[in-house]
Amino acid sequence: MSGLPPPERVEGFGLYNVSVSPVFRPGSLDALRVALATCAANGSKPVFRGAGRSYGDAATNPAGPVVEMTGLNAIAGFDEASGIVRAGAGLTLGELWKWSVPRGFWPPVVTGTMHVTLGGAVAMNVHGKNGWKNGTIGDHVESVSILRDGGRLEEIARGTPAFEDVVGNWRLSDPIVEVSLKLKKVATGYLDVEAFVAPNLAATLAEVDGAKEDWDYVVGWMDCWARGAGLGRSVLHVANEHPAKEGEPLGLSVEEQIADIRIGPMPAPVLLLGLRLAAAGPQMRFVNLGKYAASRLRGRTRTRQSLVAYSFLLDTLPGWNEVYRPGGFIQYQLFVPREAAESAFEKALGLQHELGVVSSLAVVKRHRADRFSRGYAADGFSLALDFPVTGRNASRLIALARALDALLFSCGGHAYRAKDCVGSVERLAAARGAA
């Protein structure tokens, strides 16, 4: 093994999946070429890693090297008229918005964390809270540049068969090195956010579905602990662009965007400590109950929030995933067609109680049918479930995950590679291949 860096611990965002891999961190195209040549000389196939925000094992390599792409993050060009920005695949959404917001532009699709790279976002074809209106990021990519084996750069434009092969293709053996993304023009950096509750699953799905045409962003926080009449109750946050008004700040500066991020009266270290104590235990029942009850008491509220504060809720409390050490946590996200959603989610909630592992945090979203052949989103809903992994719940948790696999199989749903921690994507593909 010559030229490989010393192996190091590489983690998925959920901290449950790890690998021990030599990691290359190229800072230039030439360095990337050298890294790929070294891998080839050692007969090993690298895995390309962005910022490591995939929850599971997507950006780890159990038996080989990892190439971390975050060094290739230069912004190569911008056309103000069309809003198309061209940037290195290692550029994160966080770096991108800090650059684009002062220019009046915002990424058309953003994930719940700003720390994902453009390359990773394309390879996973990520979605956001505006999944119904704006689809997945692939819908807004104009072209990508790929470093083919041998070191040749290939530009792949939207509308070609090669483009179809790239979007959502996390198995791609050649790295994406540049992405051209069409940003959207925003009048202000603010959103008008409405928060309200839905008392049960049917109401949650009806509200999420009903809001999809009138609101750009729609997301529900489901309390999985509630049972009986309250099964599937949620707090919903819907948002539209805040129009520019005379005499109001536009919010198009990094400072204004960040100023809107609020975590309440508790300082972050105290919150993290509280979360560490509660995260793996049944106390999460009360956290979920509190969130729902507080929102219900407040009634329907309307607030103005910065794009960053609304979009990147996962970044509000940096390092929150660390509270799940040592076992880590997994996320299981079910993508289910619209007509099957109510019964499938009811089963998914029932299974959690039956097996005694209840999600500490659950998010429901509405999606339009993915037009890419490697798509995972149907015209329907998704439910993302977070579960801490402990020695005590391990056996029940894997039983739950397999039961959810079977549920997805039977209702024509999909699992999602960026969230998959337990091999569900492969299992579903194998089951569908065999069926």
């Binding site: 190091e8 790890v18 690998s19 021990v20 159990p62 391990a394 056996s395 894997i398």
Partner: protein, 247 residues
């Protein structure tokens, strides 16, 4: 959710352990020499425990060149590893008084040398991973050298001491290393052997081992009453041990 790599699990106690982990729905990757036995076991476990993810990797422990590739292959199919468990072992029943050097050497080769090679690879992996557990099925037989099977005693003593060294080496990195010392377990290894007592069925022994490993126990006998015998064995003075001459 555990991901377990088992070495020597196509037979005996290892096989019983594979069943216990598969029954818990875990990832179980088995290294075994015989492809036929391995395939049969893997498909049997997959059929009985569909929740589990069971894979086999063919690996002849006598083939030193094969060990590292087999270890990598096992990691690749398992994703990562939470528990690396070495349970391969051979015991040659002689007449109790005659040494057969070739068989003695083979005993040492499988029980100790191959164990060190594989456990060493695992230890390097776990040190960097910074978590997880390594375990070896040693034996109460490793506590003292007895007249009946000195080579077996020596091989298990080597394994126990090697594991102790790894335990001390890896402790600062958050890795647990466990030494399991079973007494008599009802497997092919002990079948037909005279003078057996306190024999534990393989399935029960495996369940006990899995539970105690889960709790992070570092050195333990199976079953507990063997711990009493182990204590006595370790502390009987040499002159007395020689005169009593346990087989």
């Amino acid at each position: 959710m555990k991901r377990v790599i088992l070495v020597g699990a196509t037979d005996g106690l290892g096989k019983a352990l594979a069943e216990v982990y598969a029954a818990r729905g875990f990832w179980v990757t088995i290294l075994g020499r015989s492809k036929e036995k391995l395939d049969a076991l893997v498909s049997d476990l997959r059929g009985r425990f569909p929740v589990a993810t069971v894979n086999g990797v063919v690996c002849d422990l006598a083939d030193a060149e094969r060990l590292e590739p087999a270890f990598r292959e096992a990691l690749a199919v398992t994703g990562h590893c939470d528990l690396f468990l070495y349970s391969a072992g051979v015991m040659h029943h002689g007449d109790g008084v005659t040494s057969v050097p070739a068989l003695d050497a083979e005993t040492m080769e499988v029980n100790a040398v191959a164990a060190m090679r594989l456990l060493g690879l695992a230890a390097n992996w776990f040190r960097v991973a910074g978590r997880g557990q390594i375990a070896g099925i040693s034996s109460i037989a490793g506590d003292r050298g007895r007249k009946g099977n000195p080579a077996y005693n020596a091989s298990k003593a080597a394994l126990s001491t090697f594991l102790e060294g790894l335990r001390n080496r890896l402790a600062p990195f958050g890795v647990t290393v466990s030494t399991v010392k079973p007494g008599f377990v009802a497997t092919r290894m002990t079948a037909g052997k005279p003078g057996l007592f306190w024999v534990t069925p393989a399935g029960e022994a495996a369940r006990i081992i899995a539970d105690r490993l889960e709790k992070g126990h570092e050195v333990f006998y199976v079953t507990r009453r063997w711990a009493v015998l182990g204590f006595v064995m370790r502390h009987v003075p040499r002159f007395l041990f020689k005169r009593l001459g346990p087989p």
